[in-house]
């Protein structure tokens, strides 16, 4: 569409960087009064003006992530981290700037997207797998592995609405991890299930990292960012305040927030 140079290039894994973001800007218009019906729109026409607040979620953000790198994004609430992640995932469209994703991406913005309570665990694995971009055949070949990892073999024919939330999230993580992406976009979802399952998840993430996959991690858990990431950026009010080694960036973050 006119005036937009947004591109998602998934067919170019040979490019030296996995993620290239250039001059990315996103502006939200937040109406004072949200009109969501025809009636309200018609009433608004008669009553007069349409007033809204402008909120610049991202202002001219540029950075790049190399293949095989684990890259952290930190920042206070409302700084634009989630907006950035959603644009990278292709959910939101930027107003200006370009995004290049060189490789197959798996967005972990939320686990269990599209899970249906009235379906069984088995049906949900196939549904969720398809949503995450797996073919039916691929899911079938990984099916046992998914159930084993989730430790839910006994419940394979139980409807999801009878699952505890911990069980559901375990099922989701185990399925999602099978997508075998080149680039992982992760938003604070690593803390799932009980402690032993969390350890298993961290191990799996570590394994993926060692396989040379690119991971972009958005987190408030500074300890985890320091432990996992090789590079890191600090986002505040929609701009990059600082970038570089996690130690330095976290130091900066602590300084500006006054912790």
């Amino acid at each position: 569409m006119a005036g937009n140079q947004y591109s998602r290039n998934k067919k170019n894994p040979g490019h030296e960087d996995a993620i290239v973001v250039e001059n990315l800007s996103k502006r939200f218009r937040i109406p004072h009064e949200r009109k969501i019906t025809v009636y309200q729109h018609l009433a608004g026409l008669i009553a007069g003006s349409y007033s809204y607040e402008i909120f610049d979620a991202l202002k001219d953000v540029s950075f790049s992530v190399k293949h095989g790198e684990t890259f952290g994004v930190i920042g206070p609430n409302g700084s634009g981290k989630s907006t950035l992640l959603k644009i990278l995932a292709g959910v939101l469209y930027p107003d200006r700037g370009t995004v290049q994703m060189n490789g197959k991406i798996a967005p972990f913005l939320e686990l269990g997207v599209g899970f249906h309570p009235d379906l069984t665990a088995e049906e949900n694995i196939y549904l969720y797998g398809a949503i995450m971009g797996l073919t039916k055949r691929m899911i079938a070949s990984k099916y046992e592995e998914i159930l084993d990892f989730a430790e839910l073999k006994r419940f394979e024919n139980m409807k999801l609405k009878n699952f505890s939330s911990g069980m559901a999230v375990r099922l989701a993580f185990s399925t999602a991890i099978q997508t075998n992406p080149d680039i992982l976009l992760v938003d604070e979802v690593l803390a799932v299930g009980d402690e032993s399952f969390q350890r298993k998840c961290s191990k799996k993430i570590d394994e993926i990292r060692r396989e040379g996959k690119t991971i972009l991690l958005v987190s408030h858990d500074l300890g985890m960012v320091q432990k996992l990431c090789e590079r890191c950026i600090l986002v505040k009010n929609g701009s990059i305040m600082s970038s570089g080694s996690p130690e330095r960036v976290i130091e900066e973050y602590k300084r500006i927030t006054g912790i």
Binding site: I36, T37, H116, D118, I131
Partner: protein, 253 residues
């Protein structure tokens, strides 16, 4: 090509839709058959005995009209909600959003095909004039699919922004039911209105269904061309509107 890449997902969503729909009621699929049959009985009683219309095979005439109309009415009104009904698939992950509309329309389409399948024995029972022209039926139904899909794309995209659209559409569907020749013969339409009356593609479509299924008549070239053109225009319009509105779905949903 998105259709090939996402075919497993499209199929999975379609089947899930059907499963959930037929699981949630005890009689399941039987209800969706009983509904048009009971409807037909009511309308047949009213229009054959009270209005005394004289139309050959009037019971079948009404039944074909109702089953065809049900695809449009149910298809558009469920597909309209398909984007809003699955917000996490819009805001938490990227999939081409028209897949949601497509799979919803597909699941109603499958229900509709099953309803027509049950109609076939009734055609024999009521002594319809069955000829090889009945084989043209799938072509007509495929054209109808694209008409409903095109409309649904527009409605589903607009519904994200206008949440009372379903109330408005319900009235439009009610009106449409009487503006198409479903429960009365086309001959009662006053001749001065007839040229406008037959501009409605649904009118042409329902008449075409009856020609194939009940009266054993060949397809009219002009009506078929008209139907294909209407379906193509609706699809182009639907895609255009949907692509325009789709960009801000994740912000307003």
């Amino acid at each position: 090509m998105w259709l090939m890449q996402y075919r497993d997902l499209i199929w999975n969503l379609t089947i899930t839709d059907l499963k959930v729909k037929y699981q949630s009621s005890v009689l399941g699929f039987a209800w969706s058959l009983l509904n048009p049959l009971l409807m037909m009985l009511v309308l047949f009683f009213v229009f054959a005995n009270v209005f005394r219309f004289n139309q050959e095979h009037f019971a079948l005439y009404i039944l074909v009209g109702i089953i065809a109309w049900r695809f449009l009415a149910n298809g558009t009104s469920t597909a309209m909600l398909s984007i809003v009904a699955k917000p996490s698939l819009v805001t938490k992950i990227f999939i081409p959003r028209h897949i949601l509309v497509l799979s919803s329309t597909l699941s109603t389409f499958i229900s509709s095909i099953l309803e027509f399948c049950v109609l076939i024995p009734l055609l024999f029972v009521f002594g319809a004039n069955i000829t090889p022209y009945i084989l043209f039926f799938p072509i007509a139904h495929a054209i109808f699919f694209f008409i409903v899909y095109g409309l649904s794309l527009v409605l589903a995209a607009l519904y994200v922004y206008y949440r009372d659209l379903n109330q408005i559409w319900e009235v439009v569907i009610q009106l449409g039911f009487f503006l198409a020749p479903i429960c009365y013969p086309i001959t009662i339409v006053p001749p001065q209105f007839l040229p406008y009356y037959v501009l409605n593609p649904v009118t042409i479509l329902i008449e075409t269904y009856r020609n194939f299924l009940i009266y054993g008549l060949p397809p009219g070239l002009r009506s078929m061309v008209y139907l294909v053109i209407s379906a193509a225009l609706l699809m182009i319009f639907g895609k255009f509107v949907f692509n325009r509105l789709e960009r801000r779905f994740a912000e307003v949903i």
